[in-house]
Symmetry: C2
Subunit: 254 residues, 2 copies
């Protein structure tokens, strides 16, 4: 079994944005299926759940202790780690291994009071590491904090989860070209912009990276309300092979 | 109108604690009315809502933009401010005044990226400040970060909200004795302990402070699962005038 469950596919504000009256936010307020929480993915394999990021606040209700085998963090921005703060006070053992980029600061007092979270030394990038039945390769990203994406391999399945990033470092793109994945899950925060934004991808950049990577499929994530609004307008279609992730969506691995 | 709505009455872990199998946590898992989120209170007056602390993650769903007139923070521990991180990205005006203790650090990057939150210079303690139809007096507390409680006055109603604290500074207790309140809402984290805990009140301390204050009523808040478990055991009753707050409870001002 290799199943990707998108739990949060939104940006730091989520969709709807509090107080926003745009059509995408109005639609999301009316239809819970259109809502987007901040970044979180659960990877289900035979041995349990590997969380990637923890941007949602209800992880304790979603998962029993013991279900979460490990956590992979892309970076320590609050919209990716806020769900860890209440979780950490769990008094059970064993502690949960947390893999993370090389960031000496972390988020607020997480390093000082990790509780049940067992922050592990950073793993070497561009190298595959075996975590039970899941194999991960950290790939550096381009963001305002030390940030890394992950190639996930499970048997013959290979998928790359790459957010938050503005473009991709040359070395990361080259790695993807040399070690092809079936699907990219990629930061795409906003619709096409006159110039690429500094901390995230616009759609133009995301599509260019996808084409350069050679991956058959692209899933857009870290979606903000402006992109949702753009996508709902007639004529703004995505190329074949490209889809927008949604909270609650489950992909059976391929 | 002066109504106190308890939104979160739990400690940083909340009740149930993730993974905990104690009777109080099992009961809270089975009965949503027994759950406790982290610290948050809404004070409803004619002019809108004054939030005290923001420990819950769903404030954007509970309150429309424009309903929240101001936010009072007791301190910058994550269980009191975690709900502000997604809220702040609201693009509306006017910004929301946030009153807070004199803490130059804040929480994570809240001061750096305040968004819609308008952090105001700290207000002088022991002095009543007029915020529309609500009058507040900051009172210093004893905790591991700069922390203050608030006396809330609305017309003839006076209530003190005092968490997180271990005991009370002499000056704060004296202020309560000289300016009596109808009710104390007080940090009571754990059942009676052999020696008072360092950062919070046990029940013994909370009751002693209440008696010394002269307030007719006491509401216990910042409740952890051990206190809930103690309270459910036969024989462990609270004195007349003392009650435990609960998430969702509303007190009409008196
Ligand atoms: Mn992000
Ligand atoms: Mn980020
Ligand atoms: Mn607290
Ligand atoms: Mn505290
Ligand atoms: Zn919007
Ligand atoms: Zn418990």
């Amino acid at each position: 079994m290799f199943e990707i469950e998108f739990i949060g596919t939104g940006d730091a504000a989520g969709v709807p944005v509090w107080g926003c009256d745009c059509p995408a936010c109005r639609r999301a307020s009316a239809d819970p299926a259109r809502r987007r929480e901040s970044a979180c993915v659960a990877v289900h394999t035979e041995t349990g759940v590997t969380l990637i990021d923890a941007g949602v606040g209800d992880l304790a209700r979603r998962f029993a202790f013991g279900q979460i085998r490990r956590i992979l963090l892309t970076h320590f921005h609050m919209d990716h780690v806020q769900g860890l703060f209440p979780l950490r006070w769990c008094e059970r053992t064993p502690r949960i291994p947390v893999h993370r980029p090389d960031d000496p600061i972390g988020a607020d007092d997480l390093y000082k009071h990790p509780g049940v979270l067992d922050f592990r030394p950073p793993l070497a990038p561009f190298v595959e590491h075996d975590l039970g039945d899941l194999h991960i390769t950290p790939l550096p990203l381009r963001h305002s904090r030390p940030t890394q994406g992950y190639v996930l391999r499970h048997q013959r399945h290979r998928l790359a989860y790459l957010t938050d990033t503005a473009g991709l470092p040359e070395t990361t793109l080259r790695h993807l070209q040399r070690h092809p994945v079936a699907a990219l899950v990629l930061d795409c925060h906003v619709p096409p912009q006159p110039r690429p934004p500094r901390n995230h991808n616009d759609l133009t950049t995301a599509l260019a990276l996808w084409r350069a990577s050679g991956a058959p499929r692209l899933w857009l994530t870290h979606v903000g309300h402006h992109l949702d609004d753009w996508l709902r307008q007639p004529g703004n279609a995505l190329p074949e092979g490209v889809r927008v992730a949604a909270d609650g969506l489950r992909l059976a691995g391929d």
